[in-house]
C-alpha cells in the first residue's frame, strides 16, 4: 500500500494541523497491583510533547497496565499521572487509544466507525479514511475487512479526533509481518505530520527502534532502561547501528549477555569438552 508512491506522497503532503500539538506526560511514582500482586512499583516516566516513546518488556511486565493508567481506563493505587502543555500547567489531555484488537463496532459501517464520537458530519471521517488509504471501503461492514484493514480503520478513528496523545497498545501484534511494516510506516508518517505525543507498547524490539525516539524497558514493575534512539528517520532496518541497538536492547530484555564472537578462541567447533577426551586422560 505505502509502496505505491502516489499514495505515499499523498499521505506525506496532507496539510498538517497547527504545528506541534503534543502534550507532556508525567508519570510519578505510580503503583498498581492486581489481586495482591504488584504489577507496577513506583514507575517513573517523563515524556516531552511530541515525543514518540516505545515501552518494551516481557509479557506480564506491566507495560499494558502502564498504558491503561495513562489512558485513564484504570486508576492507580499510588503516585500520580499529570499532563501539561508547553506552559507546564496541569490539565486534561485529549487522548485516543488504539487497541490490539481493532474494536470496531460491527453493526456500524466503516465510515460511521471512524466518525464515532465525532461532532459534525462525516467529512473529517472521509479525510481520515483517505489518510490510511481506505477511502473506497467506507460503506462496508467491518466483518468483511482483513485484520490489517481493520487496524487501519482503528488508526483513522483514533486520529480523526486530532488527539494530543496517542496510546498504542500492541496494535500490530495480530498482523502479518508485511502488513506490520506498512502500518509502522503509516503510523510514523502520520505522527511526523501531526506532532502528537505517542506512546507505543510493543513486544517487538525491532518495531520499537524503528518508530520511537526513546525506548523504555519495564522489568519487575520498574523502568530499568531508557534508551534514546538517535538514528535518522526513516530508520533503515538493515543498518549496522540499528542491528546493534536491537541486539543490545533485546539482550537486556531477555537478560542474557549479547553474543559477541571472540576471535581469540579460534574455531570453537574444534574444541572438545573434557568428557569427550576423558578416555585419554
Amino acid at each position: 500500500m505505502l509502496n505505491d508512491r502516489t499514495e505515499h506522497r499523498e499521505v506525506q503532503t496532507t496539510a498538517s494541523e497547527a504545528g506541534r500539538i503534543g502534550v507532556r506526560v508525567n508519570v510519578q511514582g505510580v503503583w498498581k497491583s492486581y489481586s495482591g500482586r504488584d504489577v507496577l512499583k513506583a514507575a517513573d516516566l517523563h515524556i516531552e510533547p511530541g515525543e514518540f516513546v516505545a515501552v518494551v518488556g516481557r509479557s506480564g511486565c506491566g507495560k499494558s497496565t502502564l498504558l491503561r493508567l495513562v489512558a485513564g481506563l484504570e486508576s492507580s493505587d499510588g503516585g500520580e499521572i499529570r499532563f501539561s502543555g508547553e506552559d507546564g500547567i496541569s490539565r486534561k489531555a485529549d487522548t485516543r487509544i488504539m487497541f490490539q484488537d481493532s474494536r470496531l463496532l460491527p453493526w456500524k459501517r466503516v465510515l460511521d466507525n471512524v466518525a464515532l464520537g465525532l461532532p459534525g458530519g462525516v467529512g473529517k471521517a472521509e479525510q481520515a479514511l483517505q489518510n490510511v488509504g481506505l477511502k473506497e471501503r467506507g460503506r462496508e461492514w467491518p466483518a468483511v475487512l482483513s485484520g490489517g484493514q481493520r487496524q487501519r480503520v482503528a488508526l483513522a478513528r483514533a486520529l480523526v479526533h486530532d488527539p494530543e496523545l496517542l496510546l498504542l497498545d500492541e496494535p500490530l501484534g495480530a498482523l502479518d509481518a508485511l502488513t506490520r511494516i506498512e502500518m509502522q510506516q503509516l503510523i510514523e508518517s502520520l505522527w511526523q505530520q501531526r506532532g502528537f505525543t505517542a506512546v507505543l507498547v510493543t513486544h517487538d524490539v525491532q518495531e520499537a527502534i524503528a518508530l520511537a525516539d526513546r525506548v523504555v524497558l519495564i522489568e519487575d514493575g520498574r523502568i530499568t532502561l531508557d534508551e534514546r534512539i538517535t538514528l535518522p528517520r526513516p530508520r533503515a532496518r538493515g543498518h549496522a547501528a540499528f542491528a546493534q541497538l536491537e541486539e543490545f536492547i533485546l539482550s537486556r530484555v531477555l537478560k542474557h549477555p549479547a553474543s559477541r564472537p571472540d576471535g581469540a578462541l579460534g574455531d570453537v567447533s574444534l574444541h572438545k569438552t573434557v568428557n569427550q577426551v576423558a578416555w585419554a586422560v
Binding site: R96, W107, A143
Partner: protein, 276 residues
C-alpha cells in the same frame, strides 16, 4: 532446471466456460424441501379414500379443504382468524414489551438485577397453563384473562434473552466507546442495544412460537370467537375436518409470524457474519 512461462502455459488446463447449473437442477433444489410433506399428504389422501383411515379419526385432505372453503365463503373463517390474530398481537405486545423493558432494566443496573431477578425466576417456573383456575378467579372469563395468560408466557423468553443480551455485550467495545467520549444514552444506543440485539431477536422468535400454543388453550377458557373457539365447537359436534382446519390455521399463522421475525432479523442483523 526452471520452468518458463511457455512451459507453464502448457501445463495449465484449457479454461472451461463457467457452467451454470441446469435449470432443472435449480427447480429440483427449490422443490426438494416440499417432497416429504407432499408425499405425506398424498399417502393420507389415498389411505382415507381406500377406507384405511376412518373419517372420524382423520378426515381426508379434500374434506378439510372443502370445509375450509365453506367457512371462508361464509365469512366465519375470517372473523375467527381476525379475533385470534388480534389477541395474539396484543398479548405479544404486552408480554414482549414488558419483558423487553424489564430485561433492559435488570441487564443495565446491577441493583435492579439483585432486587428483581430472583422473583422473576421463581415466577418463571410456574407453568402458565396451571394458572388457569386462578386466572379465571381473578379476571373472569373475558378478554383480560386470555391476555394475561398469553402475556405471562410471552414475557419470560423475551426477558431472559434481553437480560442475557445486555450482559454479554463485548466489554472491550464498551471500554473503547467510553474512551472515545460516548456515555449515557449515546453509549446505550450505539453500543449496548445493537450488541444485545441478536439475543433479543432470539427471545422474540421464541416467544412468537409460544404465543400460538398459549392462545389455543386460553381460547378454550370460554370464548365467543377465535380459532380455538371454532375448533372446540367443532369438536363438540364431531366435525373433525373443521378441527383440522383450525390446527392448520394455527400452523400457518405461526409460520407467518416466524417469517416476519426472520425478515426483521435479516435486516437488523445484516452486519453479522453469522447471519449472512
Amino acid at each position: 532446471m526452471h520452468v518458463t512461462t511457455a512451459d507453464f502455459e502448457a501445463l495449465t488446463p484449457p479454461a472451461r466456460a463457467q457452467r451454470r447449473p441446469a435449470w432443472h437442477r435449480i427447480a429440483l433444489g427449490k422443490l426438494a424441501p416440499w417432497i416429504v410433506p407432499v408425499v405425506l399428504v398424498a399417502v393420507w389422501q389415498i389411505s382415507a379414500q381406500l377406507g384405511w383411515l376412518s373419517s372420524r379419526i382423520l378426515p381426508e385432505p379434500f374434506a378439510v379443504l372443502k370445509s375450509a372453503w365453506t367457512l371462508a365463503a361464509s365469512g366465519e373463517l375470517w372473523l375467527h382468524v381476525k379475533t385470534s390474530a388480534w389477541r395474539a398481537l396484543s398479548a405479544f405486545a404486552v408480554g414482549g414489551g414488558l419483558g423487553l423493558l424489564l430485561g433492559l432494566f435488570t441487564g443495565t443496573f446491577k441493583q435492579a438485577e439483585t432486587l428483581l431477578d430472583t422473583t422473576i425466576q421463581m415466577i418463571r417456573n410456574i407453568p402458565a397453563l396451571a394458572l388457569i383456575p386462578l386466572v379465571i378467579l381473578w379476571f373472569g372469563i373475558d378478554e383480560t384473562a386470555k391476555l394475561f395468560l398469553v402475556s405471562i408466557g410471552v414475557f419470560f423468553p423475551v426477558y431472559l434473552n434481553t437480560f442475557h443480551g445486555i450482559r454479554s455485550v463485548d466489554k472491550g467495545l464498551i471500554e473503547m466507546a467510553r474512551s472515545y467520549g460516548l456515555s449515557g444514552w449515546a453509549l446505550y444506543r450505539d453500543v449496548i442495544l445493537p450488541g444485545a440485539l441478536p439475543s433479543i431477536l432470539v427471545g422474540v422468535r421464541f416467544s412468537l412460537g409460544l404465543v400460538w400454543v398459549l392462545l389455543i388453550v386460553s381460547e378454550t377458557i370460554s370464548a365467543q370467537s377465535g380459532i380455538g373457539y371454532m375448533t372446540m365447537n367443532a369438536r363438540e359436534f364431531l366435525q373433525t375436518d373443521v378441527v383440522l382446519v383450525g390446527i392448520l390455521l394455527y400452523a400457518l399463522l405461526g409460520k407467518l409470524a416466524d417469517v416476519l421475525a426472520r425478515t426483521v432479523e435479516r435486516y437488523a442483523l445484516r452486519w453479522h457474519p453469522g447471519y449472512q
